[in-house]
Amino acid sequence: MATVKTTLGRRSFFKSSVLAGGGMMLSFSWFAGCEIPNRKEAAIIEMPEEWFELNSYIKIGDNGVVTLFNPNPEFGQNVKTSMPMILADELDVDWKNVIVEQANFYPKRYDRQFTGGSQSIRQGWNILRTAGATAKRMLVTAAAQHWQVPVNEVTAKAGILYHTATNKEITYGEIASLAAIQPIPEEVELKEIKDFKIIGTSKKNVAGTAIVTGKPMFGIDYQAEGMLIAMIIHPPAFGMKLKKFDATKAKSMPGIKDVFKIDTLKSDYARNYFDTTTFTELITVVGNSTWEVMQAKKEVVVDWEQAPEHTFQMDARGDKIAVHVPAGLESTIVHQTKMNQFNKNPGRILRIDGDPEKAFKNAAKILERTYSAPFLAHNTMEPVNCFANVSAEKAELYGPIQAPEFIIGTLSERLKLPKEKIQINLARMGGGFGLRAYGHHMIEAAVISQEMKAPIKMVYTREDDMSYGIYRPSYTATYKAAMDENNNLIAFHVKAGGIPESPLFPNRFPAGAIDNYLAEAWEIPSNITIGAFRAPRSNFIAGAEQSFLDELAEELGKDPIEFRLDLLERAKNNPVGENNDYDPERYAGVIKLVKDKSDWDNNSDKSRGFSAYFCHNTYVAQVLDLEIKNDKPMVDNVYAAVDCGIVINKDAAKNMGEGAIVDGIGNSLYGEQVFKDGAPQKLNFDRYQLIRMSEAPKSIEVHFVENEHNPTGMGEPLFPPIFAAMANALYRATGQRHYQQPFIPKKKIIG
């Protein structure tokens, strides 16, 4: 049994001053964020008369009902179920007595309220276990005190405490009042893995019933007394800004309260990394209802002009740096030409092993291939929106946000209110995919509310959303492999760049497995804003690398799986360099598992593609089978093997994996945003093609490596490699390699 110091995540033990009555923290409980895990249980869960808070994550009712708080913002990755499962297991309660409530942003109570980078479970693991175990220890101590027996003679199981020697038992609910006033233990024992009862099982999404019955839960669903609707008008192109506008007609239209200009971030403000905002000068239209505002928006006559090149201040961990934004109206066709040029020049060397120059010079044969991918829009199904109610004294916000901790300071500075006077409440998000790490919409809504002196809900149209930016960047990578006269691989070179960042990870596989290795990066500045998009950078480079390895294996006359396993064997036994960012044994483990589950050796007649990748701390290998029907690729089966350590919620983890695979297949085939003179050309789902049901795989199997490593995330790692599984299967089916994403552009729009 592991003993941990409870100083880990000490914030968890901050208690609110009000203990009784369940009123604490519920000041903004507009639609009671409580969700009962299972509808059948809903009928028999009765609310207690009194709640007792054991710590920030746990309160126990006098009747034994337990409320667990999910600290992290939920955007579909199901942390609202899986994080409380960790608490519940260490607390040792029956899941059917659990109510889950979404915590609002409360940095004094919660250690980490950030959803991104597939880190919620990985970084929450010890904190949540400790919080659960600490509360259990306080219950045990209270029972021992109540019975006047030694603490080590009291045991707990499924919400009941026992003293076997005297045949006594008492429920958590009965002892909760005494437990809540126990001192917080200095250290607690955590369960052994074999004793987990809830972790590793499958629990249904706690929000499932609310979702299928259409309960309000998203930012866009918010209603408040006297609330107005606001929309924004932003420049139609990157590199443009507002010159002047005439809202005479719009202001006279029914239901319209006002039309005015807002400045979001002031020019002297030093931004943080998540303050990415495309346009700081916007026009806003405010009125009584969405439709009226939409109509008035069309009648605002705006003159735009080209924005000059400019800089803004960035606070880079204490150092203020100036970020340069170039002028100009950029087009996709120019981007492509520029990327091809940059890719021919020498880049910044990020890693060099051996003597790649000499090896390439002496090579008997060289394979060289170039891969590229376009900008992508996040296209969350719920358009950008936020509710704000800002007065002279305080501000309340409710909306989709992955990283509230990074926007609170920005709000404080812009609204001239202390952070303590700003409450950010966390709505369930209708998708995130990285977009909601950036809180510009919260600033916009807050500024509009402040100007209007009224509660407002700001909503983007789909067109506003798709053309606002913060896209996945466009990338290009060239891979080169050198072979000697015996067709042995002797050197490997990757050069990768993009607009405006390089996707390269120099220390990832196959670095470490090849004696002569060179990795170079380059970047092209741009005024198109970019941001995190499901597995940033990996989401391109994995597909490029794994497509190249497939072609290289063929060139070497090797089976694609055996080729990877040979390289990993080399990296394990005699690694090149020291900074190799993967564990070759775990990497090989998922490859062997998917080989077995897909019956790789007996299906060489199928059009199947293999791919594997390690990112966001999780190992993944995939096999994809497809057929070409009516000139379209139809995916039959996808097999995935995953090593994410201990799996918390098995079926939910599979669901995440399935979704990432479908998302990746869709983006590999169709995903792209295209620019002409700075203007995004795809503004809605009529032209921006997303994968639909008829194009989804017929079946997806997600298998997990069973081990006792600490858990890692599932939201991102299955997304990057599927691009190559798709490309490699397409090659088997058609004889053609695919180097440029999207593989099937619906309409080729050249800017």
């Binding site: 509808r39 955007f75 579909g76 990755q77 199901n78 499958s202 999404n205 929000a207 499932g208 019933t209 979702i211 299928v212 019955t213 259409g214 309960k215 309000p216 839960m217 998203f218 866009i220 209603q223 029914p254 209802s289 969405t290 439709w291 009226e292 109509q295 296209n379 969350t380 199904m381 719920e382 358009p383 369930r428 998000m429 209708g430 998708g431 909503v459 149209t461 789909r462 079926d651 939910a652 669901n655 995440m656 399935e658 979704g659 695979i661 479908v662 998302d663 809605n684 789902f685 009529d686 997303l690 994968i691 639909r692 049901m693 008829s694 989804a696 795989p697 017929k698 079946s699 997806i700």
Partner: protein, 152 residues
């Protein structure tokens, strides 16, 4: 502005809006029925799917003036206690991720099953292709539709 008497989820509702207002915004802004979602506004994503006389319709492209006496059903009125066979199947297969598109998916699926109680895979694809799920839960949606079909 004009007054409309609508039959929504078995109740008579009166709203005073402009005739061009899409039913989506009447439901969401005026009747506080926010289960029906705004996704694209051009009938391309299916998030706003409701039933008119039991048939799936995209409410973002349906002006309130065109509804007349027809019966409107939204996700909130699909069943009394969330126990429609399709809703139950959705829970059984734990379909949703973010959940935003799911009301529209369920309204399309229930309309399909009311007209075709045992749809084939291709018929499911055809009926559901207008509903985008950005999280990619399509395989589970299809399984849930089959479960619901078999439970009747």
């Amino acid at each position: 502005m004009a007054t409309y008497n609508l039959k929504v989820n078995g109740k008579d509702q009166q709203v005073d809006v402009s005739p061009s207002t899409p039913l989506l915004w009447v439901l969401r802004d005026h009747l506080q029925l926010v289960g029906t979602k705004f996704g694209c506004g051009i009938a391309q994503c299916g998030a706003c799917t409701i039933h008119i006389e039991g048939i799936a319709v995209r409410s973002c492209q349906l002006p309130v003036s065109a509804v007349g006496e027809q019966k409107i059903t939204t996700i909130e009125g699909l069943s009394e206690n969330g126990d429609h066979p399709v809703q139950k199947a959705w829970i059984e297969h734990d379909v949703p991720q973010c959940g935003y598109c799911q009301a529209g998916q369920i309204m399309s699926a229930t309309s399909l099953l009311s007209q075709n109680p045992n749809p084939s895979d291709i018929e499911i694809d055809q009926a559901m292709n207008g509903n985008i799920c950005r999280c990619g839960t399509y395989t589970r949606i299809k399984k849930a539709i089959k479960t619901a079909a078999n439970s009747k």
